[in-house]
Amino acid sequence: MRGGRWRGVILHAGLIGGAVLTLAPLIWMTAVSLMHPGEANTAKLNLWPEAPTLENYRHLFTRLNMARHFLNSAVVSCAATLLSVLVNSLAGYALAKLHFPGRDILFRRMTAAMVIPAQVGMLPLFLLLRQLGLVNTIGGVLVPYLASIFGIVLIRQYALSIPDDLLDAARMDGAGEFHIFRLVALPIMKPILVTMAAFTFLSAWNDFMWPLIVLSDEKLQTLPVALAKLAGEHVQDTELMMAGSVITILPPLIVFLLFQKVYVEGIVAGSVKE
């Protein structure tokens, strides 16, 4: 079929064109990060480093304390991931599988609260943490990531599919509710927990406004905050800034490639409303 073949060619041309446009900024970033200082800022268009060098990366880690910021980001994101998976899986499971009065109202209130922009509570939260002595601490940055309505809803939707018979059978055997959660429900919920973990890690790693507000002490700043500050001070150092961007983008990209399948399924699951 001639028509079919031409349509295939046009379709793939479109897809490849889109892919080139999508990747161009990221490829350019990587190429420039390997250039010698000053190489990118010339009137002639430089798309590829003449003699690739890791000098910019060395500069970031030796003179600009990037290892420190990297570590801060890693600690915040990993702690947020572990704690939020624990907190939200308990709550999501309870909302799906344990009967108690007021459950449906509670769930509806929670989903409705998702439209409230975080900014409404941001100023009082800052003042509260200031009272608690948590401003300029890693704990202070973590606080809003721990319980997430989105995460609870995501896990609840998934937990609804756990067969009640299975839970009741365990109850007949005299198992306590926490045991049932840990030994019966958690293994079934594993895919959604992995999704949730990847989600939390990525959003904590990439978040900017909240760490910007809470962490004024340079030593504690996360990568995005430190990078934004650096970008203001090193406007002319294109190559250096690109190396900083690469370092910041790499960990989430690796996390994604490792968990791609479950992550994508989670996004789709999160979009399915009852």
């Binding site: 889109g18 999508t22 439209v115 970008a231 690469v246 994604f256």
Partner: protein, 294 residues
């Protein structure tokens, strides 16, 4: 103790950590934010909290009289009304391409299109700042190759917001694309077969089968994208600091500066409450539109 009570008690135990954290770090701050928006909380109050007074709605009257607020609102609406639909449109386009039966290496394209979603906004904002450089930026270099004179993208008040919208579309379209692909796959194949038997053209099939089938997806994508786009902050913070001449100063950027740079927390809270009201209004409009279609 009956099984019923035991289960009820377990439920509340399971919910306590999440509800406690949400109450302490979300619900209470939101309520306090509403209260704060009725006060004159500023730098002096930070120094001595006792001087704080409730001025009730005067804070809102002041904000609504402030030209800066209207400028920030205008910029934010520009970003939401132009950038939102554009982003959703690109997502739908990419999803339709990916969903075609003829596509080879679908997984590869999907990963590539999704990659920008994972990137850190601050990093890519910095990258795009250089792409937009009037002298040696990639964009102007390519434009000059095809004979179009370059633009000072981030330095020209007319082009700064479109430039930021372009970055936001690039960064975000992959997310909604995945949701659209799932929505497309949920449309029953029989509907397409019936359309083919009736001799419908591909445009007719798209209008009468695909679009109605995607209605719930459109609603979800529309509302979530709008909520996210209303909160635009890091892009102008990193790329333009709200300039040139305030053309990219958005509501959240304005709120951040008033609240955390000048410590006018009463005013900043009022701005956040207005953001909430505008978001709710936008959500209601979309609910109306979705209801009207059905």
């Amino acid at each position: 103790m009956s099984l019923e009570t035991r289960r009820r008690r377990a439920a509340w135990l399971f919910l306590t950590p999440a509800l406690g954290l949400l109450t302490l770090f979300f619900v209470l701050p939101v309520v306090a934010g509403l209260a704060l928006s009725l006060t004159d909380f500023d730098l002096y109050v930070v120094a001595s909290p006792r001087t704080m007074r409730f001025i009730w709605l005067k804070q809102f009257v002041d904000v609504l009289r402030d030209a800066q607020f209207w400028n920030a609102l205008r910029n934010t609406l520009y970003f939401v009304i132009v950038g939102g639909p554009l982003s959703v449109g690109v997502s739908l386009g990419a999803a339709l391409l990916l969903n075609s039966r003829l596509v080879k290496a679908r997984g590869l394209f999907r990963t590539v299109y999704f990659a920008p979603v994972l990137t850190t906004l601050v990093s890519v904002a910095i990258v795009w700042r250089y792409l937009y450089h009037p002298g040696y930026g990639l964009l102007n270099s390519f434009l000059s190759v095809i004979g179009i004179p370059g633009v000072d993208w981030l330095g020209d008040p007319r082009w700064a917001m479109p430039a930021i919208i372009l970055l936001a579309v690039w960064k975000n379209f992959g997310y909604n694309m995945l949701i659209f692909v799932a929505g497309l796959q949920a449309i029953p194949g029989q509907l397409y077969e019936a359309a083919a038997i009736d001799g419908a053209t591909s445009v007719q099939t798209f209008r009468h089968v695909t679009l109605p089938g995607l209605a719930p997806t459109f609603f979800f994508v529309g509302v979530t994208t709008m909520i996210g786009f209303f909160q635009v902050f890091a892009e102008p913070y990193v790329m333009t600091q709200g300039g040139p001449v305030g053309s990219t100063r958005t509501l959240v950027l304005h709120m951040y500066e008033e609240g955390f740079r000048w410590w006018r927390m009463g005013e900043a809270s009022a701005l956040a409450v207005l953001l909430l009201l505008i978001t709710l209004l936008g959500a209601l409009v979309q609910i109306r539109l979705a209801g009207g279609r059905r």
